[in-house]
């Protein structure tokens, strides 16, 4: 299969089940909502070292938020419920609670499974906090030096979240690869239910499981796709490829990842790109397999 002269490899992206939450962060202005969201999603690229993965889903107009203020929607992923609750409490506590005028609401109100992250934060109020129920949902008003911080008590959990959707841009040059990856990110950003947790949505240091030469390493460089060591390793690089970038996607479900991969790959097929590949572990680790040719043929997973 080729798209505008770019070869689509016959391979698949291997992804994992994750627990996901959606946070609605609002503030007096979009600037402050973004400030809180950027801090909350900072250092959240990979569960390997960050314990969670998070990113901004999109900006929200006042008509879309519970308090009719500008807001930002954030998606948050971990490997299990327990860690999701802990990370949410830590991060909301350190980034929204501290941010001037910011509030935090649940963005998955229909979810049956819920985590009481806001309830855990209430104790910061030292028994001066106030509980309020509006529309069947409990909120906490926590007194702070500025006035009050408003936080919803519980946050819905999507148990069918998917992390680690990906595709590789195999390019003739680093510049061509970066331009293609940027085009892919532009195409995916703003799509509902998906985030790209890495810097600018792009990863240059794709990894393999473990390491051949260092014991105890959880992950090490994906040398099969590193051009500088092509003669020294069992390379997967086609001729003419001198740079590879990876776009990693986390989504609320598999169909969302499928749609986003299709949009991203379509945009990435541009001059200077030799092929589109994907990262997998032979299909033994992750239950979700996104076959590139099936994805681009508009098929489901």
């Amino acid at each position: 299969m080729e798209i505008r002269g770019v070869f689509i490899q016959d391979t698949f992206a291997e992804a994992f089940g994750m627990r996901a939450a959606r946070l609605i962060i609002t503030a007096r202005t979009l600037k402050w909502a973004r400030e809180a969201a950027l801090k909350l999603t900072g250092f959240a690229t990979s569960v390997i070292a960050c314990k969670c993965e998070a990113g901004i889903e999109r900006e929200l107009a006042p008509a879309e938020t519970p308090d009719a203020r500008p807001g930002v929607s954030v998606l948050f992923f971990t490997m299990d419920m327990d860690s999701l609750g802990k990370r949410l409490t830590e991060r909301i506590g350190q980034t929204v609670l501290t941010c001037p005028t910011a509030s935090c609401f649940d963005g998955l109100p229909a979810a049956v499974d819920r985590l009481p992250a806001g309830r855990a934060l209430r104790v910061f109020g030292d028994k001066l906090q106030i509980s309020k129920i509006v529309g069947g949902q409990r909120y906490w008003r926590i007194p702070v030096m500025e006035g009050e911080c408003l936080v919803q008590e519980s946050f819905g959990v999507q148990k069918k979240g998917v992390g680690g959707g990906n595709f590789l841009v195999l390019a003739a040059s680093a510049d061509a690869g970066l331009a293609a990856a940027e085009a892919a990110v532009d195409a995916i950003e703003g799509m509902p239910g998906v985030i790209l947790p890495f810097p600018g949505g792009v990863v240059r240091s794709g990894s393999k499981v473990g390491a051949r030469n260092y014991k105890g390493m959880i992950a090490s460089t994906n040398d099969a796709y590193c051009p500088t060591v092509r003669p020294r390793t069992k390379t997967e690089l086609p001729d003419g490829v001198n740079a590879v970038l990876e776009v990693v996607l986390d989504g609320l479900d598999a169909p969302t990842i499928n749609r986003a991969m299709r949009a991203g790959i379509e945009a990435a097929c541009r001059p200077g790109v030799r092929a589109i590949g994907a990262g997998n572990y032979g299909g033994k680790l992750g239950p979700y397999h996104f076959h590139l040719r099936q994805v681009m043929a508009d098929g489901d997973v």
Binding site: S103, K132, V134, G147, L150
Partner: protein
């Protein structure tokens, strides 16, 4: 066979007090048209049948719509647990009293004791309400313990008295003793609030968008912009179509803590525009 909606139409005007307790959508959901027509109605101590007063059209539905002026009918929707009750017209006392779930909408006025002691569900009154809206039944320690009451017009005295939880919103004015001895919950009043609001309150909130005389037993804390009020007013606008002036969303609001000695965890949030 079940109907989408059960419609009750008044045969002729009711000019004497009538009690219709137990006419709830959760109950009609299990009854045939004939069974609904034989539900008991009390005129004083005299027993009659619902079909004597209404033409019943439909059966086995948890959506119950009633047309007519029912000012002399009390107890409509009392103890309702689920479903939808819609009345095109005004109703008498105790509408929705003790309801635990479902929704009641009155496209008219309601008498005294509307939503008395409710613990869940939503009671929407598009006209005015009488005294003791959402308050405690006689002799009870607690008023409403949950649910929401939204009144577009004004309400009488002792609104939300002894409320333990829940939300009461009044688009117009309320009378004296609003939120008296409130234990928790929230009363929002868009208009003027009568004398002695929040007297003896333990916790709970009064949000005053209009005029209010702050009792001397409440202590001023600060003037600020509570996001909670903004969210609450946004919710009332979206859920019930009760839209306050745009300026009230951000305030500022003066916060008063009280009632002194009871033990003062309650609050009055009074909208305080610069020109007031």
């Amino acid at each position: 066979m079940s109907s989408d909606v059960i419609r009750l139409t008044l045969r002729s005007s009711i000019d004497q007090p009538v009690e219709i307790d137990g006419l709830t959508p959760d109950r009609t959901a299990m009854l045939s048209e004939a069974e609904i027509s034989t539900l008991p109605v009390f005129i004083g101590s005299r027993r009659a049948a619902l079909g004597d007063f209404f033409v019943v059209d439909g059966e086995r539905s948890n959506r119950l719509h009633i047309d007519g002026d029912l000012r002399n009918v009390s107890g409509l929707g009392a103890a309702m647990t689920s479903g939808e009750l819609l009345v095109h017209g005004s109703v008498g006392g105790r509408v929705g009293a003790g309801m635990t779930g479902g929704s009641i909408e009155i496209d008219g006025d309601a008498g005294d004791d509307a939503g008395l002691g409710i613990s869940g569900g939503a009671l929407r009154i598009r006209g005015d309400a009488g005294d003791r809206l959402g308050a405690a039944p006689a002799g009870a320690a607690k008023g409403m313990t949950g649910g929401e009451i939204a009144v577009s017009g004004s309400a009488g005295t002792e609104v939300a008295a002894r409320a333990r939880r829940g939300l009461v919103a009044v688009g117009g004015d309320v009378g004296a003793d609003a939120a008296r001895a409130i234990i928790a919950g929230t009363l929002v009043v868009f208009g003027r609030i009568g004398t002695d609001p929040g007297r003896g309150s333990k916790r709970g909130s009064i949000v005053a968008l209009g005029e209010i005389e702050i009792p001397s037993t409440y202590e001023y804390a600060c003037t600020y912009q509570p996001t909670y009020v903004r969210m609450l007013l946004t919710y009332l606008s979206r859920r019930y179509g009760m839209t306050a002036e745009a300026a009230t969303l951000d305030g500022p609001y003066a916060r008063y803590c009280g009632d002194a000695g009871h033990p003062g965890k309650g609050e009055i949030l009074a909208y305080t525009p610069a020109n007031r």
